[in-house]
Symmetry: C2
Subunit: 144 residues, 2 copies
DNA sequence: CCTCCGCTGAAAACCACTTTCAAATGAGTT
DNA sequence: AACTCATTTGAAAGTGGTTTTCAGCGGAGG
């Protein structure tokens, strides 16, 4: 019954269904993106990718990330330091961001999620998505 | 024991303590801002203000909003539609934003706030601020 | 091979601020 | 009231992270 969940296959199916092409650039960019486990800036991913194929430009990385977002394989985050961060889609979670060092901790609390739904239902609001970000000082940064 | 909480007085004290001047522009802009109960874009507030004094420019409204933020009388919000929104500071609350009509509902749930603190404490994270935004479809927009 | 149409990279455009700068103006001091 | 001068103001220019444009490239079906 294996409905494949392999990201590469999801992407390839998306490309085929939309008359889009399989290119070397896309393969490299997506490969590097999926390999990483961080919240990546575009420039950061570009640097990774340039190690493999230096001719690849910023715009292609940008467009590929939009593509990954489009087919549900990536999330774009805006944590208020100007540049967006991209991360692999996966189980839902929210974020704690250290305002000193920029480190990011992920968290997930079912009780909060449920209460959220409760609050929405109270005014008959249909939730599509949410962002819950906690800003402050991480454990490490509290001891200078 | 009336420690004044009147916004105008807070502002005036701030101006005095920082060697800043009381100007007609600031009075008008702050007056209009405090009069409103919406989440305002800069341009929106500018339009209000221009009805009273057409010579006032975007930059002065912008700078006055920064000033209000600085002295704790305004909050700046970023709900992802590009432009920031400003609202009067008051009791803490979070937001539900309709992705169809843009309407904003405020909510406040102590249980969520407490759970948030619990989650932070678990990793010894010291909370400075947070944003909790729920995006979806408001009651009105669900019936087209 | 051919041909078509999507893809790519450099450069230009966009856009919401944010800063600069010369002239105007509060507000103390004569 | 006149003088002084640091703060303000508004127009214009600058910023920075995208986002779009466009001419040439290249994947892939025929
Ligand atoms: Mn994450
Ligand atoms: Mn609000
Ligand atoms: Zn930290
Ligand atoms: Zn709505």
């Amino acid at each position: 019954m294996a409905h494949t969940q392999d990201p590469m296959e999801v992407l390839n199916r998306y490309l085929d269904e939309h008359g889009m092409k399989h290119t070397r650039q896309r393969e490299i960019i997506v490969g590097e993106f999926l390999k990483s486990n961080k919240h990546l800036q575009i420039e950061e991913l570009l640097n990774q990718v340039k190690k493999i194929e230096p001719s690849i430009g910023y715009v292609t990385v940008y467009r590929t990330l939009m593509l990954l977002k489009e087919c549900g394989l990536a999330h774009q985050r805006h944590f208020g330091d100007g540049k967006s961060l991209f991360e692999k889609a996966g189980d839902h979670h929210d974020h704690m961001i250290c305002i000193k060092c920029g480190s990011i901790n992920e968290f997930e609390d079912d009780r909060i999620e449920k209460l959220q739904e409760q609050v929405a239902k109270r005014i008959n609001f249909k939730i599509v998505s949410h962002r819950h970000e906690i800003y402050g000082c991480c454990s490490r940064c509290q001891n200078e």
